[in-house]
């Protein structure tokens, strides 16, 4: 194999991969309330936008208060218009810090998980 052939193979592989815009493992792209944010007023729900579509049966999100008590309405679901958005409704929240815990399965069978906090201001 000549160096030229080798470099052409590299260029071809790079060209195949470059159009990709998101991680194949589903990573959290955006969250509402935002990661580490302070919220004024009552958030009605948590919305998590991932980098790729999710498998609904194996994707979960919970919202916990500082004592570990679940404060969401246990109605997690994918957004009907966008399978990369996971939503869950919230009960009325007292001022304090809340933790969002998620574990999702992307369409290509990779599991990712994570958590973050947001604060509800008085």
């Amino acid at each position: 194999m000549t160096v030229r052939t080798f470099l052409r193979a590299v260029a071809l592989l790079a060209a195949l991969a470059l159009p990709a815009g998101a991680l194949a493992h589903a990573f959290l792209d955006r969250a509402v309330p935002a990661v580490g944010s302070k919220v004024h007023g009552q958030p009605a729900e948590v919305r998590l936008r991932f980098s790729q579509p999710l498998e609904p049966a194996f994707s979960d999100v919970r919202v916990l208060d500082a004592g570990g008590k679940q404060v969401d309405r246990k109605d997690k679901r994918l957004d009907p218009a966008d399978a990369s958005v996971l939503r869950v409704s919230l009960r009325p929240l007292a001022p304090g810090v809340y933790r969002v815990v998620w574990r999702v399965l992307s369409a290509d069978t990779h599991v990712t998980e994570g958590d973050y906090t947001f604060e509800v201001a008085p």
């Binding site: 080798f6 592989l13 790079a14 998101a22 194949a24 990573f27 990661v35 998980e113």
Partner: protein, 314 residues
Amino acid sequence: MTRISAIARWSAAVLLAAGSASAFAHGFAGKRFFPATLATDDPFVADELSLPTVSRRKTGANGDEPATLETETSVDFTKRITQNFGVGLGATYVSQKPDGGESVRGFDNFAANVKYQFFKSDEHETILSVGVDWDIGNTGAKRIIGTETFSTLTPTVFAGKGFGDLPDSLPYLKPLAITGSVGVGLPTKSSTTTVADDGTETTAKNPNVLNVGFALEYSLLYLQSFVKDVGLSEPFNRLIPLVEVSMQKPLDGSGPTTGTINPGLLWAGRYMQFGLEAIIPMNKATGGKTGVLLQIHFFLDDLFPKSLGKPIFD
């Protein structure tokens, strides 16, 4: 059949035999994504292809050897046999241009390795593994300086630790992670005798060599997803600034510690990762000038999640 085509065919056979799927794959411990590092080996077992890794640096003059501009282009392929056990193969094409001399080109010795990941803690974002690297003697071009006629086996311990378990009072340190390795290169011949054109024999000792490497990384992906949304958008939310340090020291005291410090940036995409680093000599004994190192790295488990990118045995 050339050695390269033999390796390629063996690799293809392994890939075609690939078996069932896995949930987590390259470089994950809990919510921590460990990127593939360029100068030091990773602590995790994965289906990956680095194609290519290119380094270019002018080495310093050493005794009778003049300063040499050295360009290395390498390919590294690793394949999981089971979820936690993998094998790897590597080949490097070298171009050397000594000051005032003719360029020489050819393959360095080929390399193979095995690695077993024996511990993972999702909660503490920790991975530990052990492995052995085999630099296969006499498989490279003899005209290349540094291509040995003997093999070197390097048993190595690898570790990776993310700092996501730090107290919440230190939020901006949580995106930090460190990976590293410690190994001892054991040559299969304790000395090598060369005969010059005039018949003079020279014998050089081949000492055991301590190899230490680590990478300190700050993941903007981790910051943005788990600590604080600071408003970064693509491509900046996928950047991982890092510093790698790679050191070697002969254990018989016959030479000084040498090595490089490599500051750089990684960018992790859907199927691949780009890396770019400077190669800075860490001391006078290392010599030479600052060079550059770049890599295109493919996540085979993401490219072929249901076929080529999963362990042969689950």
